[in-house]
Point group: D3
Amino acid sequence: PALSHINPQGEAHMVDVSHKPITVRQATAVARVRMQSTTLATIAAGNAPKGDVLATARIAGIMAAKQTSNLIPLCHPLPIQNVTIDIAADPDLPGYRILSTVKTKSETGVEMEALTAASVAALTLYDMAKAIEKSIVIESIALLQKSGGKSGDYTADSGLMGH
Amino acid sequence: PALSHINPQGEAHMVDVSHKPITVRQATAVARVRMQSTTLATIAAGNAPKGDVLATARIAGIMAAKQTSNLIPLCHPLPIQNVTIDIAADPDLPGYRILSTVKTKSETGVEMEALTAASVAALTLYDMAKAIEKSIVIESIALLQKSGGKSGDYTADSGLMGH
Amino acid sequence: PALSHINPQGEAHMVDVSHKPITVRQATAVARVRMQSTTLATIAAGNAPKGDVLATARIAGIMAAKQTSNLIPLCHPLPIQNVTIDIAADPDLPGYRILSTVKTKSETGVEMEALTAASVAALTLYDMAKAIEKSIVIESIALLQKSGGKSGDYTADSGLMGH
Amino acid sequence: PALSHINPQGEAHMVDVSHKPITVRQATAVARVRMQSTTLATIAAGNAPKGDVLATARIAGIMAAKQTSNLIPLCHPLPIQNVTIDIAADPDLPGYRILSTVKTKSETGVEMEALTAASVAALTLYDMAKAIEKSIVIESIALLQKSGGKSGDYTADSGLMGH
Amino acid sequence: PALSHINPQGEAHMVDVSHKPITVRQATAVARVRMQSTTLATIAAGNAPKGDVLATARIAGIMAAKQTSNLIPLCHPLPIQNVTIDIAADPDLPGYRILSTVKTKSETGVEMEALTAASVAALTLYDMAKAIEKSIVIESIALLQKSGGKSGDYTADSGLMGH
Amino acid sequence: PALSHINPQGEAHMVDVSHKPITVRQATAVARVRMQSTTLATIAAGNAPKGDVLATARIAGIMAAKQTSNLIPLCHPLPIQNVTIDIAADPDLPGYRILSTVKTKSETGVEMEALTAASVAALTLYDMAKAIEKSIVIESIALLQKSGGKSGDYTADSGLMGH
């Protein structure tokens, strides 16, 4: 198979989706932010009892989903009907697991929107914690599920799904 | 230690850098994009000769570095004197290793700019290859080095540096 | 009633509108910019006979309507079919009354687009006049009317409608 | 006096600040969001404990400060060293009082950045509460204080300062 | 005939397209970048065998098409189903000929998107070559073809079509 | 000579300007918009008296200057101290001549900012007139003058300067 975004001359181009029907599509992505357990404890303290840490990352992820086609050169600008970001502490990582789900009614899917939202939420957590730990690593940014569209549904292997 | 971006009331805020001197600062970040070896071969074919795949990801990363303060809520807008993105195929991963380096003359560092550039370059590779493999994973987004500024230089452990 | 944008865990999220039908929707908002009568006279002079003062505020308001979903975190990005900005001097205020009307065909309304357009047009007037008066006040930013959508039409009390 | 942004031909233009020295400058602005007391009670409930309502408005205001020169046509793009947003419930209004303070080291001031931040934070509160009350009014957007720069310091009359 | 974007009071406004049907529309624009033949030879060398020069201009043009409604004040924000940019060396100019084609399903056309894409691709070529020649001229930015919509198809005179 | 933005491997990159001193720099660019004389007459009528046509193009050009580094991939984000746009009817063209001048205090010049401002002002004129004439051509986008910086001053040949 060839790359969908590269023409026979090797030039990058958008994929023409004008002939595709508009359907409801949804995608869910994950990102993990691994840190030392003391950093996780400090964030948890900073977030309690009314702290803005996780709210800031959630808002950043939601706003980034809406910027996806301005960041990824060959992405189509899409209407977005919903974005949710769920951030949960995972003491075993240790760190945070971020899930983002994006929904559209469009000719093409929202995998990149979900992945971008999860990535930027993770980067925002990094930003707020970097003064206390520079060795934080964002890992396992991946697509977990997509539905809708001609190419059918997709669910990642259980390894990526985590606990 | 407490989080620098959270005040005693738990509210998110920017860090006041107006009292800090302007110095030259630099940061280097890494991201890895892991895929099946057949996907790596298809990208390599799509990129040769004169193909735009890696160029598209490089340009996306450079442009994203300039959008960092619009994406990460508490980042300061900074002048940027240089951005370089280096993308190398790694048959052992298999996949691609992305290195981004950002330079500024400013009151604060460019770690987030380097991390954002690497992340968006990685997401762009994902976008171009997702039609042939949805199980691509972006992993190990991390800061490798920073220099300049009062907090001193930083070099990540050799494990993150890779080959 | 609970807040539509806050889930039971207290987390901010967008409202899922994917199940709602697409209908024509319209909203009108107002803003008032109150200033000293000498400032009003100076602006009127600066605007005559071909001056750009009000045109600049109108253009700023129209362009801001298109940025609404990038400014208001939980707003949906929407197609916009029309924006009009009407700015009238009001010697009794004294100052300017700004009316903005936005129209869409979408699953959700354009109240925020109309309010954002009026607010940014008002801020632009402030910007151009601030060198001669810093005590200008923007007041009474409010929704005047909306139509379309399941929640029905809305008209503000006559007090907000002004003369 | 004439308008600083309008030339003798009546044309809008930026003000040339290239000859001005770089100094530390600060500005504080206020916005008030007036609503029914039942709406205020609902927001307070949605915000407690750990709710994201006020955090979302704070983040929106901070991010909007960084967009000021993209929204207000004749504003100069400026480095921003700090933004803080303070949102307090005011049962007497009833509603919320928003204070924004912006700091820069630049040739020109940050009044518009502070006013834009307060306005967008207020619009964000409106957005989250509009499903339960459409008659919310944003009022009294005004500059409270500025310091730095040749034109000297400014403090608004006590009426605008509120309690 | 009067200007569609100016009302009887001389005020700029968007054109209300809410009553128009959604149809597939396409537009093709051209730009030419004229330079000395030695500059053309240097770019050709810089682009071979895997150089990024033309790829960078193509990506810039595609991304600019998606920014059109943020740049042109009275343009409607539109979904975009496809953008292609074709850049060919023309030794007779000497220089480069840039063709951009944009496709949408919308109430209004994409002439401005195609023209903006061609213009920004041309500016990007200028940027990369300006260190070796400042006398490069961008000329003949024009609409070549449009189709779809009530106003019917349009094809430019053969003079603009070039070879 | 080689292209400054292409490294020996043919990869696009920004030019590192961190070692260059900050100086005042200025650049002036031109664009011409050629149209039928009847179109020029219609625009003149739409602009008189108090019409917004030229004001809209001026504002669009000023705002575009501030977006240059977001549009041109390898441009540095710069502070901008001034932008002026001058648009004059030229009955001999027939059409409009647009002059843009941009000023900065920075490590690098503002040629691209001036060229982008002129281009977007020209595109905005096209947008407002396209309903009455689709054969409008934007021609002769060129740098007229630059000053400041190590590479010295530049003045275009008199042919480009026009009358």
